[in-house]
């Protein structure tokens, strides 16, 4: 029997059918597919994904790493699972589970029965998972074209509150190796499914660096909301491109960092709305924040009412801004302007030289900080300064030192940021000792060395580096070069007009 409305979905009337949530009647989808309706992703994929147990079976058959799991049909089965996997034991509903619904934890054999009851009993279809000792939860949005070519979005970290996605950090603050491993698992997981579209792959990162699959959603996902502002192609446009058979867009980030904060209902009814609106007010004061309010008619505790995305030049910067947004009493917010350049020197005796770098940065309106950090006298300060600089939003470090000038090279060894070294002329050797100590770095750790005592050039070099991502700075640098040329031309003209003798003795 064909449902009357399904005739309206014949190939000539419906170009393609996709889903925005996997909890749909998959039998109908399959019937439509048989009638020639183009479903993307395929009904087979929806069938696998909407049953979490089936999903685990599928992925384990495709050699995707995931926590151990087993089906349970009665309390005896649950106990056997507890003996096998230990406690805490995660018990899950096979179907209609999302945003933490359908999960229950039993901390001991005594809690098994109540956990099963909380999930509606064995008739609902339950299975257990071995507790994954994760240190972080990661996620990857994967886009798959009709021709099966695949593009992956950057790996993000997801932070949950009572099992509900609350904060997403993009990109995840994990090593390159972990990112690659997470992307590989996500790629393989989606490769094992059928059909085009955007898929969200949720992952566990364990303490020993393993990546385990948690679950897959066959659609745009909360972990990809940040892509609207932070990526060249949002997950929503990408999903439509994929299912419609259009070429995929670039999934990479156009902003170095983004943080997404879900506005979850704090309270029922009116008071919940008041709290949410206070939060939105504060979010609107952050210049690089975007507010999304879903305009749901009813406020409930823990309900997703909207979200805020803040983009910026480093995770440290956007985290600071989120922190300020969440302070209820805060009336002022850290500006988007955190220091971008750190000027450090081994001793205050270097300051008369190093001040020239600060002067240049002032001229170009680049925010900076100035600090004394000695490699030899305050090695711990140097260590913590260099290794935390990137997290704090510093983008270039200018380090000045004299004599056995170790500061620039040591700092370069402790940070992935570019380090500019200024050889300061010390008492002996006219600065050649400083220069060679700074420039002759071993393979692997570069220091961008400028001329002896020439902190002006260090400032200018920092501006040129920052110009890589800021065309305004690049244009200002061109203007600076033009102005310098005009200064010299003026002098040349004066010399021409006055003659060399009166030029020297005015």
């Amino acid at each position: 029997m064909t449902a009357p409305w399904s005739r309206n979905l014949q190939r000539d009337r419906c170009g393609v059918l996709t889903v925005e949530i996997e909890h749909v009647d998959v039998a109908t989808l399959e019937m439509l597919e048989q009638q020639g309706v183009d479903c993307q992703p395929k009904a087979s994929t929806i069938r696998i994904i909407q049953d979490k147990y089936l999903q685990k079976v599928h992925f384990s058959q495709h050699a995707i790493p995931l926590p151990e799991f087993m089906q349970i049909e009665d309390l005896e089965g649950a106990k056997r699972a507890g003996d096998l996997f230990g406690y805490p034991l995660m018990i899950k509903s096979k179907r209609l589970a999302y945003d933490g619904r359908g999960n229950a934890v039993a901390n001991s054999v005594e809690e098994l029965s109540s956990a099963v009851t909380a999930l509606g009993g064995f008739d609902r279809g339950l299975y257990v998972e071995k507790w994954a000792p994760f240190v972080k939860e990661l996620a990857v949005i994967v886009a798959r074209e009709r021709d099966d070519s695949i593009l992956c979005y950057p790996v993000v970290e997801t932070i949950h509150r009572e099992n509900i996605c609350h904060i997403v950090k993009a990109p995840a603050n994990v090593t390159w190796e972990i990112r690659n491993r997470a992307t590989d698992v996500a790629y393989k997981a989606v490769s094992s499914l059928e059909g085009a579209g955007v898929f969200a792959v949720e992952l566990f990162l364990t303490g020993d660096g393993q990546i385990l699959l948690n679950e897959v959603a066959p659609r745009p996902h909360n972990s990809g909301h940040h892509t609207i502002e932070s990526c060249y192609t949002s997950q929503y446009e990408q999903h439509l491109r994929a299912v419609a058979g259009l070429p995929l867009g670039d999934p990479s980030m156009k902003s170095p960092a983004a943080i997404m904060y879900n506005i979850l209902g704090e309270d029922e009814g009116e008071s919940g709305f008041v709290l949410a609106h206070q939060l939105i007010r504060r979010a609107l004061s952050i210049p690089r924040a975007t507010v999304h309010w879903y305009d749901k008619p009813e406020m409930r505790k823990q309900r997703k009412m909207g979200h805020v995305t803040i983009v910026g030049s480093s995770l440290g910067e956007v985290e600071e801004q989120l922190k300020a947004m969440l302070k209820e009493e805060s009336s002022s917010y850290p500006s988007a302007v955190t220091p971008h350049v750190g000027i450090i020197m081994g001793s205050d005796s270097d300051l008369p030289v190093m001040k020239d770098a600060a002067r240049i940065l002032d001229m170009f309106a680049v925010p900076y900080e100035v600090k004394i950090v000695s490699a030899h006298r305050t090695p711990e300060v140097m260590f913590s300064y260099a290794s935390s600089a990137w997290q704090r939003g510093i983008q270039v470090i200018i380090a000045g030192a004299g004599g056995a000038a170790h500061l620039p090279g040591m700092v370069a060894a402790l940070t992935p940021l570019p380090v500019i070294g200024v050889p300061v002329r010390a008492s002996a050797l006219d600065g050649l000792d400083s220069l060679l100590s700074i420039v002759q770095m071993p393979r692997g750790v570069p220091v961008a060395t400028v001329a002896i005592n020439n902190a002006t050039n260090a400032g200018l070099l920092a501006v040129r580096m920052l110009g890589i991502k800021d065309v305004d700075l690049l244009a200002r640098m061109s203007q600076y070069q033009e102005d310098t040329k005009n200064d010299v031309l003026k002098k040349a003209e004066k010399l021409e007009n006055d003659g060399w003798e009166s030029y020297l003795n005015p």
Copy 2:
């Protein structure tokens, strides 16, 4: 008499009233304002702007530079204006003029009469403008809050086809000084008006660097369409924030460059649609392009049917991609991956050293080019390479040279990009001559110098610099440092286990 519907706009039912086009009945707006409806911008502003002659009078009273103009009421007046301003003479309708409608050019006194007729005769209200000998048309989107604080978007260049906006380049490829001047004029023009909202200020740049006001629109504008993808806050969101009394968002660019292309009707009816859809197909193949199709029911020649915005890391890059998109026969598009690093050297004898920089860039998957450019033997090549590198999308230059090593410094003098210098050991002095020739640059022109023969470090330094805008690269650099550490630790362990003697004689 109060129109019956206007009662529905009383203060309690309508928070704020704004306009999306200035050609509205301003008398009604004024009446609503008197009744307490909050109009943003103010009716007074709409009244000034919708009459182009009144607009000119207003801005000239506020000392905003603009082309000379005068009202004309009959042919005699037009002739007097022609005598005064010369030909070609621009004749304009005072009202209902946009997208080139309402403009006519008289190239001589004989053409005056037909130009006036083309505009519907003197009864429509006409004025003339002295021809502005512009070299570029610029525009600035200006956002003004209710408290009169003002934020300006980056200056863009607009390119018109038959008086209709066709291409917008953001930011405009003009000097920093010109950008500042244009922003100043736009700021002053909007300051002279009343009410909140987004305003588009269209400007002429003349050959001698003057900025003249063309006209102002009191609303989001075609010259700001690119902001949807390229700026932290789009002009549309900004307008709503401004009129609703919310804090303004950041108007700066989150992508270094953007180009917007209006899809104008090429032909009436079906064949016009076919051409437009072919263009869209090609646009969709460009990974960082976004297509906006307005779904207007009718296709007409020169009608704005949609637009495409391409963002990228330099104007050169997005211009190349637009060019490819416009080639009808093109089947492949320049990828978003143009070389980001230029590796140049004075002689092929430097290649055995310089290859190490290329190896590092390969390892980090950074696109690069390798060229021989000699300061002394091919000064013209050096000059053109260095001065065009930025336009071509190069972001960092690595230059190697030996002996009297002038290449890095000379290139640095000709580009605003960061230049990394590699001193190559020549036959004499063990490379100290090369090192000092490269590092001891005068104030004003920095070269980031690395150790003698150490092109590996030059490659690593380039990666660190590019990491300023690419967190992936930064993470890979951290991983590289981690891997290097592990290599050394392995050697240390082997030495520990084997003892130093068997370590040396395995």
